[in-house]
Amino acid sequence: MNLIRKMSAEYADYLFDESRTMGSADYIAFPANEEELAEVVRWCAEKQVPLTAQGALTGLAGGASPERGLVLNLQRMNRILGMRKDPDGIYYVRVQPGLRLAQLRRALAVKAFDVAGWDEESIGTLKEIAPGQLFFPPDPTEPTASIGGMASCNACGARSVQYGCTRAHIHALRVVLADGRIADLERGKQKADGRKIRMQTTDGNMLETTLPSFETPEIKDAGFFIRQNMDLLDLFIGSQGTMGIISELELKLMPAPKHLWGVTAFFPDDECALAYVRVVKGRPDPGVPRFPRPAASIEFFDKNALDMVQRQKAVTPAFRQLQELPENYCSAVYVELNDDDPGEIPEVLTALAEVLTAVGGDPERTWVARDALELEQLLFFRHSVPETIDLIVEENRKKEPCITILSTDMAVDDDHFDELFHIYKKDLQASDLPWIIFGHIGENHVHPNILARDRREYEQGHQIFEKWARDVHRMGGSISAEHGAGKIKRRLALIMYGEERLKELYALKRAFDPQGILGPGNIFENGEQV
């Protein structure tokens, strides 16, 4: 069969994702549509070949790095298939999983769609909308991420403070199951009955099983989602290709914010920054005025992150355009805001200046971006941190190929965040590892990164992560708020779920995937033995 090709050197780029987790595979397939996708899965089921689904390979946990078998690359399934409006006036867009977030954003922003094959309802709906009227809120750091990949690990990104994770914006899914049959699932329609699942496939077959006896954390979590009476499509969001392969998604769109702007503020120490974040999130603080607006996103950068980018500026020409940091900086916090009227900005800034002064910051040591052009600079600065991590890891790998990105995305609730932050800092300062902390502080999950230079440091990094996983578990948090456990963090998943619960989850997976061919090595460490 032409669809399935023998793995060869020319496909070497498909053996690893952004985390640099190197995998191996025997076959690779690039299906162009759902039919071909199902055909590949049927072939795998017949031959008992395990398969790993891939989107745009921007993941940070190795979820798309194959562990033997077949690489199911979905980049060719990158079309927007249609759109509709429901009676409540909400717009939906149907897409294939390989579509990149940036492509969807651009199509919506400039209203440029390839409408070949669209039905009349879709074309009629398209005629109604204006360029830039609608947007898809999830905002992972990497805009080249695929929509399917975002769903598979329930990505959230910076703006989830205001809009929630990818899961909240998926209305319907089509899923190719482990035997190649297809399920068509819509939110609110196909639901579990208590813990009983009866899932009909498009050919009329019925898949029956029972949900695990527990519920997954309430906190934002990139892994499995288990609830009584849950929508069945949620089983496939966050499960990283271990339950089925998403072949089509219907996304819920929102009216685009009229005016997006932001402020990056620099603080003399982390405690001031933490106090500022608390106020921005609307938690009352005696002696500090209320923050004037709800934030769309809140991002944190520690001194090590700022220093690291500053050093990289000398090496990477593209970074030359970055703003110059104020003198004696320690940490920085970026806050993104939405307003209907840019005329209100001065009023908001007057209030913001008072907040900054009250928490120990300085309204002079800030960067304000009031329009899209200026905002791009703040986002560029934000993006320069993971970009630099990438460059450093790539460099370190030259000496020690086992090194991958070591980034965590653990999350806890508001009450525990400061405690967790101090644990991070204490443990990292006690080590002799190079480290930085940055990320989505608004959602209580920052990304401590360990930039291991050799095998010893790499292993030590993993040990520290496991300690944190136990700390986070004690606080009732999640070991992965947005990247998913993938392969790098499956030991952390074991710590979070515990052996018993992980076994229950694995049993659920096997009910959907009796031969255990889907997503080998993802979430479940060496699945067979759990």
């Binding site: 060719r76 703003q323 800030t366």
Partner: protein, 627 residues
Amino acid sequence: MKIYVCVKQVPASNETLLDPVTHTIIREGTQSILNPFDSYAVEEAVRIKARCGGTVTAFTMGIPSAEGTLRRVIAVGADNAVLLTDRAFAGSDTLATARTLAAAMKRKGLPDLILCGRMATDGDTAQVGPMLAECLDLPHVSDVAEIEEVNETECVVRKMTDDGYVRLRVRLPVLLTVLKEINIPRLPSVSGVLRGEKAEVARMNREDTGMEAGKTGLNGSATRVVRTERPVITRETVWIEGTAREQAEKLKGYLGSRNGDSTDLTETTEKENSSTPPRRVQDDRKTEITPGGIWVYCEQGPEGIRPVAYELLGKATGLAGEMKQTVTAVLVGGAEEEAVSLTACGADQVLLAEIPAEELPDERVHTAALEKLVGKYQPAILLLGATAFGRSLAPRLAARLETGLTADCTGLEIDPETGLLRQTRPAFGGNLMATIVCPEHKPQMATVRPKVFQRIGGLSNRPPTPLRHEYIPERSVQPDAVNIFREKMETAERCFEFLERIPAAEETDIGTADVLISVGQGIGGAENIAMAEELARKMGGTVSSSRPLVDSGVMPYSRQVGQTGKTVAPKLYLALGISGAIQHMAGVAAKTIVAVNTDPDAPIFGCADFAVRSDCGEFLRAMLDEN
């Protein structure tokens, strides 16, 4: 130190509309921003103030809402702001704008230093700065990449030229236009924004500037926009379908079959070169420089006369035929040997202004020379190459001659009814083509970018013997003889003192490449740019870029193709992830254009010979596979 900065409010997007009746810009109702180029001038002013002390005052001319732009400038450190606003200013061309700014600045007291951005993103003319300097009778230096030293009396600057950088010493007061590479403009702070909001913005109307009624705005402008239209670029496009691999295969096939053509192209060019240039009626050829002729200013670089001069002579020959006029090549300085080749390429006479030898052409010296020659011989049309120096000299000269100037023309024709020169140029980032005339002032001046027009004749001709005409001797009937008229110039004031030349780093010149692999925003990451470079190597070409990647610092400016970059004329132009905005395509004079883009509606497909709808990474991988 007293520093003035000129800023302009421009539309946030270039999808702006022009009033269909007056052909002036409708500014109301569109979102406006500070011209991005001006932010570098503001930043430099604020930095100099921090170093030397003093005040920074920002000037703008515009509608009342331009006050918002001035508040933004105060937010990043300017002390004062002046808004020139009056209905009487509406419709100003670049010269009317410069005059009004000059009048206002004289009222407010002349500064030590005036800083301007290199150009504005809406007009793209880069004229107001040098014109303002001329109106104030100050020296100016364009394209400043670095202000190395500055004190109350002089400054040392590093300036970009077409041949690398030069270091110059300039006496204050002076006007400098600055490049983007000079600094990284800061974002305002919270306190800064609030200062900007509270600041006083001084307003000046026509009376406040002391300008005479009827001498400002549209009435005070030498140029008139007579037509605007949406540009249409069409080519018959072949869509290449299939998987990336199939697409790559098919494309290679098509390009292979076209290869024959490319060879033919070279041969025809040579054939053209060796033939005598098409001449106007031979008997009509005049032996003197009569009023009403067409002049081409021939700039001399380190390697002799710049090629654009020959291209302009080629175009001028055609125009002169319609006007029954002669073509005069004008040289300021330089040796008469240079004159020989000019005649072979279309010049009827060569007019040589004798000036003291110079290391680097000086705008003020050349302005004085050309002013004298124009005054004496009264040409109807004066064309200049839009080189770095041409773009700096032409506005200064136009302001001195008080005539209109149209920058970066892509079309020149004679209106059969009025006999006026119709000058067509892209505006608003190429979203509109504007046709401009200069009805009441002479000469009608235009600059044209290199490679827009084709030269006729060539250097391969046997060099004819130069003849010298001190006055007006009997004209030789020899077809290839050279008529040289020499004029001695008095010493003129200079803009600068030349210090040294900093040669350009060994850079590939995209202007001369036969194969260009051009990358745009849709290229999708550094690894794909690396693949583009590999493909370029395999195809014996060079990688060029569209503006967004240059603006974001990913690609160097020297690789930028388009209206604000370089005009290129390769045999094959392979555009990867380039949307194909007109300002980009304005710089592409390729024989074959191949466009690769995921967006089927990308405008570039409308002007491509071969259209490949594909992800750039996939396409490159497929091309490299078996190339």
